[in-house]
């Protein structure tokens, strides 16, 4: 069947329904790459639900032969009221711009042709930008603008099919370019999720127009996302609601939300209904500002930190550098006490991570980029982090040197030899040398059944690792600690004169007094220092030197 030259209300309905279906099929791939503005993994869902609300509002206006302008206004209003999230609100503006334009400039009686679609897309782009106080390029704004511009450049007599094809093709290309415009995307190794959503919308509309069967959806590639690239501006709550009233002043409400400390503020809609989207530490003032001007509907408040944590696995945390030295020091560790000790030794960035939460290469790269003026040393402090550290260093070989520490104790050895200025090569060599003299004893409880040196280890048994290798199980954490210490002392030719005990957050009560006494009783010549490391999973970590 040949595609029609123009669209009437019934065929427009099919076009939008197909777009909705196409977005639904690709929802997860979009969610998976959602890193901007807040990495909460719901862009695909939000755009889909917004488009669905739009289509449902259009369907509710039977009969099907109602005029195109009225149908478009219906879906625009449906999108506005049903918009979800930042991306949904912007999508609702795209639909509204399209609707307003089509309602005004329909080619011929009640039908949409090429010229109307050209104008509609241009208006859609304009409306999208109008929703955002400070437009950021490399986002869905860019994609709709570039798609509209390409469509606008088609000849005056271009058919609807031509216009949709050009817009769709350009949108796809524009999505691919988003990482070049928005560094966060490049760091995360993704294209913009919202931009992809716009491209899917246009592709879906075109499939609907052509009456084609939908192809296979995209694959979900969550694993390729570098979590670290993900700037996390979103603390507090994402708050959304609709205010219904009369004579609503969009500008005024926007200003009120700004003044209340709102971020990512979006206020869109009509004088009788506004959709509000705002990020705030406390959602209360935002809701009050809305309630002051009208009746609230569809109030939705989400904890962005919780969203972010569930999306990233909760392992991104870095601290801003206090003072940028020529030579920076980035340390991967966990435990507040241990992190503080590393900072006191000069660490400019701490990346949260350890045996159970390995940071990604991108996360390390981002931390390193802000850590030193000339060169940065990276201490992975865990054998499972070394590879990611080396991947990060491979991205910036001139900037980053990995000092392959496999434990916290080794990390402290290296950090002691760190100097904030000087010859990077010499400092790096000194740090490497310094690891040699420090051995690490880690005491934990087994999380699985296994066999160590012919000994069965049961779930929850106390076990001890020396320099990352499981050496024994014991009846208690204290015994495990002493067994590990003996193993180190037996293997060290010169003996040891200092043991630093890092107490974990779940160290047994009284360990701070008991452990030094135990060690001093067995090895009188050894000085023992106790540090409240605060690390999880490992009640005791010992540095033996």
């Amino acid at each position: 069947m040949e595609p029609p030259l123009t669209l009437n209300t019934a065929s427009l309905r099919h076009v939008f329904r197909t777009a909705e279906h196409w977005l639904e099929l690709n929802r997860e791939p979009v969610n998976a790459i959602n890193v901007y503005p807040v990495p909460d993994g719901d862009t695909g869902t939000n755009m889909l639900l917004t488009l669905r609300a739009a289509c449902e509002a259009g369907d509710a206006r039977e009969p099907a032969d109602e005029n195109v302008g009225a149908y478009m206004q219906a879906i625009a209003r449906g999108a506005l009221l049903g918009a979800r999230g930042n991306s949904g609100v912007i999508l609702s503006q795209i639909i509204r711009g399209l609707a307003d334009s089509l309602a005004e400039s329909i080619d011929g009686p009640e039908e949409v042709g090429g010229a109307a679609m050209r104008g509609g897309l241009a208006a859609a782009a304009e409306a999208a930008y109008g929703a955002v106080a400070e437009p950021v390029e490399g986002t869905m704004l860019t994609v709709i603008r570039e798609a509209a511009a390409a469509a606008g450049a088609t000849p005056q007599d271009a058919t609807l099919g031509d216009v949709l094809e050009v817009a769709d093709t350009e949108a796809e290309a524009s999505v691919e370019r988003t990482p070049t415009l928005l560094p966060k995307l490049a760091e995360a190794g993704v294209v913009d999720a919202g931009g992809l959503g716009v491209s899917l919308l246009l592709a879906g509309m075109r499939y609907g127009y052509l009456g084609q069967q939908l192809p296979e959806p995209m694959a979900t590639e969550a694993s390729t996302v570098e979590l670290s690239g993900v700037a996390h501006g979103g603390h507090g709550y994402c708050t959304e609601f609709v205010v219904v009233g009369s004579g609503l002043d969009r500008e005024q409400l926007h200003v009120a939300l700004d003044q209340a400390g709102g971020e990512s503020v979006l206020v869109v809609g009509y004088d009788d209904a506004l959709h509000i989207h705002v990020h705030m530490v406390d959602p209360g003032p935002a809701i009050s500002a809305g309630a002051a001007v009208g009746a609230l509907e569809s109030v939705k408040v989400e904890n962005m930190q919780a969203q972010h944590d569930s999306w990233t696995g909760g392992h991104e945390r870095s601290c801003p550098p206090v003072e940028l030295h020529a030579l920076g020091l980035v340390v991967v560790t966990q435990g507040d006490g241990i992190a503080t000790a590393f900072r006191e030794l000069g660490a400019s960035q701490i990346v949260d991570g350890g045996p159970t939460a390995n940071p990604s290469a991108g996360e390390l790269l981002e931390a390193a980029r802000g850590a030193g003026r000339e060169h940065v040393f990276l201490l992975p402090n865990d054998s499972n982090v070394i590879l990611a550290a080396e991947q990060a260093a491979a991205q910036e070989p001139e900037l980053i040197t990995v000092i392959a520490t496999r434990s916290v104790a080794g990390g402290f050895g290296a950090a002691l030899a760190y100097a904030p200025e000087g010859d990077a090569e010499a400092v790096g060599a000194a740090m490497r040398d310094a690891i040699e003299g420090v051995h690490c004893v880690e005491v934990t409880r087994s999380v699985r059944e296994t066999v160590v040196e012919g000994v069965d280890v049961g779930l929850g048994d106390a076990i001890v690792l020396v320099d990352g290798t499981l050496v024994a199980r014991a009846d208690s954490l204290d015994k495990a600690l002493m067994t590990g210490l003996d193993a180190v002392l037996n293997g060290v030719a010169d003996g040891a004169d200092l043991v630093t005990v890092y107490l974990g957050s779940d160290a047994p009560a009284g360990a701070g007094e008991r452990v030094p006494a135990l060690i001093e009783a067995a090895h009188g010549h050894i000085e023992v220092e106790v540090v409240h490391g605060g690390q999880s999973h490992y009640p005791y970590i010992l540095g033996v030197e």
Partner: protein
């Protein structure tokens, strides 16, 4: 021409050694509260550290007055000195050098001053060098040139048991970033351009001294070395033994940190100084 040598008490020269080489030592003052004690005159090293251990408050130090230098210079002139070489503690660490320069103003003999940029035995060994040049019949200019040359080949290494004294005395310089509350850290300190700076750091004093010796080996071969301590003779001896092992033919002078240096280094401090051999042909 009769040339006499003057230094101050921070050179940590034993009294008999100074006397032997006719070196005049102008004392700095150590203050316990309001009680002012002249370093090496009113209080000796052992008494100082005993008192320090009992003292509820940390002592401070103060430079000699210009008048103190003036009197000493005038006395030397009366004894027949026609020229004076006055060699002192780093001018950036103390006003001692400035006092000495003021004290020499208007004097009708030539007085030359040398800023060692150093302290303790590193300074003292330079003063002894000047004494020997003069004893051998050298001129003031020769002595001054040789002393300055020796200071350029001198490096001092200190490892303090605690940085509290250095902090209290305000001579912390660029060492301040090593302060921490979580881990004990022992920095290896030196004088660089008259400032106290950190060369390296370790977790124990023994390891820090080991590190210091490792760094010092870059300056071998040596002409002479010195070791010193504040109530830590055994740790100092270990350093002397290690230096002797590494440089068997090099004379090693040992000494104690006197009261003024003790105010800033605190008990338990161990240091050593190395003086590289002059470059061949130089």
């Amino acid at each position: 021409m009769t040339v006499r040598i003057v230094t101050d008490s921070t050179a940590d020269l034993p009294v008999e050694l100074a006397a032997k080489h006719r070196i005049e030592v102008v004392p700095l003052t150590v203050l316990f509260g309001d009680e002012a004690l002249l370093d090496g005159v009113d209080i000796d090293t052992d008494t100082f550290f005993e008192r320090l251990a009992r003292s509820p408050e940390l002592p401070t130090s103060s430079q000699p007055s210009p008048a103190a230098f003036r009197e000493r210079y005038e006395q030397l002139v009366r004894e027949g000195a026609t020229e004076i070489l006055s060699i002192h503690l780093a001018g950036s660490l103390s006003g001692t050098l400035a006092s000495a320069q003021q004290g020499a103003e208007g004097l009708d003999v030539r007085v030359e001053h040398v800023d060692s940029g150093l302290a303790s035995l590193a300074l003292g060994l330079g003063v002894l060098k000047a004494g020997r040049v003069i004893e051998a019949g050298g001129s003031l200019d020769e002595a001054k040139a040789q002393v300055e040359d020796q200071f350029s080949r001198t490096r001092a290494y200190f490892v303090l048991d605690t940085l509290d004294y250095l902090l209290h005395g305000g001579r912390i310089g660029r060492v301040s970033h090593v302060f921490g509350t979580m881990l004990k850290v022992k920095p290896v300190l030196t004088f660089e351009n008259g400032e106290v700076v950190q060369l390296a750091r370790a977790r124990t004093q023994a390891k820090a001294l080991e590190k210091g010796i490792e760094l010092a080996q870059e300056r071998f071969p040596l002409e002479v070395a010195g070791t010193m301590h504040a109530v830590a003779p055994e740790r100092m001896q270990a350093v002397a033994d290690r230096l002797h092992e590494l440089a068997p033919d090099v004379p090693i002078v040992t000494g104690t940190l006197g009261p003024t240096i003790g105010v800033h280094a605190g008990p338990g401090a161990v240091g050593f100084t190395v003086i590289s051999s002059p470059a061949p042909g130089g």
